[in-house]
Symmetry: D2
Subunit: 202 residues, 4 copies
Amino acid sequence: MGLSAFALNCSLKSSAESSSTEKLLDELLFALEEHGVSGHGTVRIADCDVRAGVTSDEGSGDDWPAIRRQILAADIFVLGTPIWLGHPSSHAQRVLERLDAFHGEQDDQGRMVSLDRVALVAVVGNEDGAHHVAAELFQGLNDVGFTIPANGMTYWVGEAMHSTDYRDLPAGSEKTHAATKLAAAQGAHLARLLAGHAYPAG
Amino acid sequence: MGLSAFALNCSLKSSAESSSTEKLLDELLFALEEHGVSGHGTVRIADCDVRAGVTSDEGSGDDWPAIRRQILAADIFVLGTPIWLGHPSSHAQRVLERLDAFHGEQDDQGRMVSLDRVALVAVVGNEDGAHHVAAELFQGLNDVGFTIPANGMTYWVGEAMHSTDYRDLPAGSEKTHAATKLAAAQGAHLARLLAGHAYPAG
Amino acid sequence: MGLSAFALNCSLKSSAESSSTEKLLDELLFALEEHGVSGHGTVRIADCDVRAGVTSDEGSGDDWPAIRRQILAADIFVLGTPIWLGHPSSHAQRVLERLDAFHGEQDDQGRMVSLDRVALVAVVGNEDGAHHVAAELFQGLNDVGFTIPANGMTYWVGEAMHSTDYRDLPAGSEKTHAATKLAAAQGAHLARLLAGHAYPAG
Amino acid sequence: MGLSAFALNCSLKSSAESSSTEKLLDELLFALEEHGVSGHGTVRIADCDVRAGVTSDEGSGDDWPAIRRQILAADIFVLGTPIWLGHPSSHAQRVLERLDAFHGEQDDQGRMVSLDRVALVAVVGNEDGAHHVAAELFQGLNDVGFTIPANGMTYWVGEAMHSTDYRDLPAGSEKTHAATKLAAAQGAHLARLLAGHAYPAG
């Protein structure tokens, strides 16, 4: 059965600039393809106008409703973010705030509209912070209805207080590649199970 | 298919004292039973001698090996903890440290020994901190191989700086009961899927 | 000696709407006045155009440079935020990202430009999350040069999964008022010490 | 005026084994000495029997009362911890739980008994997690009455998923040394101010 993934890149930089987060997301989407998951592209929040708020539509000019549709159209939601001050980027937190609206929305079986979807997390920084960023994202995504596969995170960070970027490593990192492959294999497996066997009605 | 759950209570208090965490764990185990999941009892870390360390056996007198066997014998691992200073209790962090040993252990298919198991989290405090505690536990448990079902947490906390305990609420809390039921229904569903369809070989 | 405070309100809502964060900030600024600290008003990020980025000036139309000047003109920086999904608001994280630029800026003594300034934190939510939000803000603010007085936080949150807003409590909360007074007294004391005795040259 | 510092090492290993946390604590205590702060030794929690609980004395055999006296006898409290699963060690959380008792204790002026003391944090890991560990410790320590000087943290972590230990770096890390010196200079300055000008009565 064909599955699909949709990725959001929460880099602070628009597509005019290269992004380490994009590099890691590309690697994760490629790894997912090897498990029969077709990527439906990556959207950079910095290219969009995602309005502040906690509803699913903050009115004219808000780019969130289109992004929301793409999230709900996919089986796997891949959330990629850089680390700033040890935290998810403000764009990543903005995404969580907009997803919070799922708490007030139900499908025709009385379930959260996001159910049966798997979330994976990709985190990149010069140094330090990936596990905490994953903790924030896992808890936020789980709260709004996503399921987290075992080892559902891939990441790269450098040594303390250094300034290398992941996009500057031509071969990436072997350890990161292994984490990416594991997250993809397990994410695809779980998404396939849930696509065939939905959570019970509410 | 019959499933089983094993619960750890990370209260700082031994069984000689009543525990709000125990009350919430009892409610969660009861809710799981309604979905065909038999509880195999609850162990309180405060009653045991779980040694500091990051291996699966810290030597003579260490109670962890027996607890570890019970975790691995069950389909669902329920981790319950009180909130202290906004964090998981030191007993809960001790449990995560001992689970960290899974990173060096593989089953006969080259997979983490904990795979195919679902984790649920139950958090209780006088006030404030449940979401952060869940974030810490979800990320730690996911890192050592557990899968987190959608809405995989139940909790109760009171108003800021108040001192009511969950065990002092005779009827508990309706909202907490609803969260407990949802976590149980979705945790049982996911555990059943994974029991029948294991993650792929490593 | 007269001291001054500057407050940022990181509510997702503009001034067109009432804000619980504003109520708590007003109470904290009032308490600071009783210790000789004059408030220089409160700015709501939602009223401004604070651009994404990690420099002190992201170009034409960016409202951050004016806000940055107000932060540096004051002895006490008060950062107020609501809680969303257990985290600081995306506006609060945006503020931290812009403050990150301080790492590349020095005063004429080779010190961070923010040194000798005290930070206080005010956190409000319907339920749960204040301590973790304070943790994120304390660590971020400390990293960019602010000093945190003992008990440097005031907050209000309601019972788990309830929906009361702080602005709906006519008398606020006695316990919150006590925390506010303590944070103000200790913040003013520390700011006065640092205003008279600057940290050493770098 | 002579100042004193007291350090706790929350490594999971006893003094029978070498500790990266100890190396970083030694460097920080040495840096403090250059600012007139005499170290009163370092205690390893793993060598002690610090009982689980949230009072200042958990009864016969509890080593906490002696540690508590040393904390209160010093002007600067240095809390050092390794990172496990991205979190402070269980020993560090145990220390915070015991410090929580300060909420119920007052000096003869109605103030928290810990007031006028500065806290510094030293964090070490193979990879990733120092900022989050600092966030947890800053917030916990601030909650129980400690003041956090600007840049009050030093740390070292290696590249993602690598296994180098700080104690294996003969020369340590230049960047870590700079952070250590800054934390020491600013911590000593602030402790000196507070030793001469106590926070106001409660």
